[in-house]
């Protein structure tokens, strides 16, 4: 026998179910008044530094249909490449930028929209700079554990070419699933759960 490490097991995930919007965006789904506003509905204010962009997209299932009951959260660095987080040790991020957004997909056509700023570059563990990116987390009915992925920018060709995460993708054409479409300042990022265009999801 050896000593017990004493670690606990992470609580198992369960699907967010069909009514995740009740819990996370109640004002959006017709339960007004419990909270003043839905958390994560605004990432910027009129003092936020950096280039304003929008990211719109859909989450598409294996039959080609957009999910109308999904919820997306994003997390990103500010324009200078700093996270608005206590675990950010490299400096103080823009206090007028939260870095975190939450958006339900619409009941009509399944789109989500984030109004944010173009993130600066942040370092990989070895000090190399990663290309500008936005981290995505997707939950919905039928998704048993939240899906992590990243958005990269189509106009950051040189930075993308040296990005350590993109470089890890063995099948090169699949790296394109992480690069948004559209152009500044309006980017489009469709997330494909299955099929030929299946987005690269991360175990991270």
């Amino acid at each position: 026998m050896v000593q017990d490490l004493g670690y606990l097991k992470e609580t198992a995930s369960q699907t967010a179910g069909p009514y995740v919007h009740i819990g996370l965006t109640p004002n959006f789904c017709g339960i007004p008044g419990v909270y003043e506003r839905d958390l994560g509905s605004s990432m910027v204010n009129d003092k936020t530094l950096g280039e304003r962009i929008t990211v719109t997209g859909r989450v598409i299932d294996g039959a080609g249909a957009p999910l109308k009951d999904a919820l997306i959260e994003i997390w990103q660095a500010d324009a200078a490449g700093l996270y608005n987080s206590p675990s950010e040790m490299r400096g103080a991020a823009d206090p007028n930028f939260t870095g975190w957004g939450r958006c339900p997909t619409s009941a009509e056509d399944g789109t989500f929209v984030f109004e944010t700023v173009r993130p600066g570059r942040v370092p990989f563990k070895d000090g190399r700079l990663m290309a500008p990116h936005i981290t995505f987390w997707i939950v919905a009915r039928g998704i048993n554990i939240g899906l992590h992925t990243r958005l990269y920018f189509p106009d950051e060709v040189a930075a993308n070419a040296e990005d350590p995460l993109l470089a890890r993708i063995e099948h090169r054409h699949r790296a394109e699933t992480l690069v948004a479409g559209g152009q500044a300042p309006n980017y489009v990022f469709d997330i494909h759960l299955q099929g030929e265009k299946e987005t690269v999801f991360l175990d991270i």
Partner: protein, 249 residues
């Protein structure tokens, strides 16, 4: 105490997720997962700064009734119908450490098993005094509690006669974006837990039992509300430290 005082930031990578403990993406007994499950392997990577960081949610954002689902949607002087309960517990990480400042959001059906949602079609009635959502933030020791009514079980279209056991959905936001978790809490003694295809997506019985809150008789308030205790475990993190800020355990 301010929200940041008790939160000494950590910068280590989170422990790798045990994917055999969590439900697989593709679980055909839960039919909706069939077309919504990635089919290709996930790309496994150690955390970068984009995953070890996360936003802070301050206690100051909370309203007085945010953690009281019995009253937070009710008309003045009225309350939601149902069995009054208190749900409480701790948010810990895999190292057994409390996670202070964690944002918990919950949502649930009413006592008759009906959600307040325009796509909900179950014939059980809405309760005009029950909205079904609440939230709180853990204290410096990782504790949380909220008041609600016990949700009812309800049928759902999967198999011909599938029912969800009574459950409360939990969304937990710890200290890093990689710790993000959504799960469901079940109630001790409910025989329907073991018939549910969504519960059944979890392969290991011990992982299911970790989602079942026991009746906490000691904390039950006489003549008021029974208590259920539900502890939640988020990913732990390594004690790696960055060069510019050495920090021990």
């Amino acid at each position: 105490m301010s929200d940041t005082e008790f939160r000494r930031p950590e910068t280590g990578a989170f422990f790798q997720r045990d994917r055999d403990w969590h439900p697989p993406a593709f679980a055909p007994g839960y039919k909706t997962s069939v077309l919504r499950s990635p089919q290709k392997a996930l790309l496994s990577l150690d955390n970068t700064i984009s995953e070890i960081t996360g936003p802070v949610f301050g206690h100051s954002m909370l309203g007085e009734l945010d953690n009281d689902l019995i009253h937070n949607f009710a008309k003045a002087g009225e309350s939601a119908i149902g069995e009054r309960i208190i749900v409480h517990g701790r948010v810990l990480d895999e190292r057994g450490r409390p996670v202070p400042g964690a944002l918990l959001e919950f949502w649930q059906a009413n006592a008759g098993g009906r959600y307040r949602h325009k796509k909900e079609s179950y014939l059980a009635p809405l309760d005009p005094n029950f909205g079904g959502c609440g939230r709180t933030i853990t204290d410096e020791n990782g504790y949380y509690y909220f008041r609600t009514i016990k949700p009812g079980p309800y049928p759902w279209p999967n198999g011909v006669n599938d029912w969800r056991p009574a459950h409360i959905h939990f969304s937990i936001f710890g200290h890093g974006f990689a710790q993000r978790l959504i799960t469901q809490m079940y109630f001790e003694g409910d025989p329907m837990i073991w018939k549910c295809p969504i519960v059944g997506t979890i392969p290991d019985r011990r992982a299911i039992e970790q989602l079942i809150a026991p009746l906490d008789w000691a904390n039950t308030i006489p003549m008021d509300a029974r208590a259920y205790k539900f502890d939640i475990v988020l990913r732990g993190r390594r004690s790696t430290f960055f060069e510019n800020r050495p920090e021990g355990n």
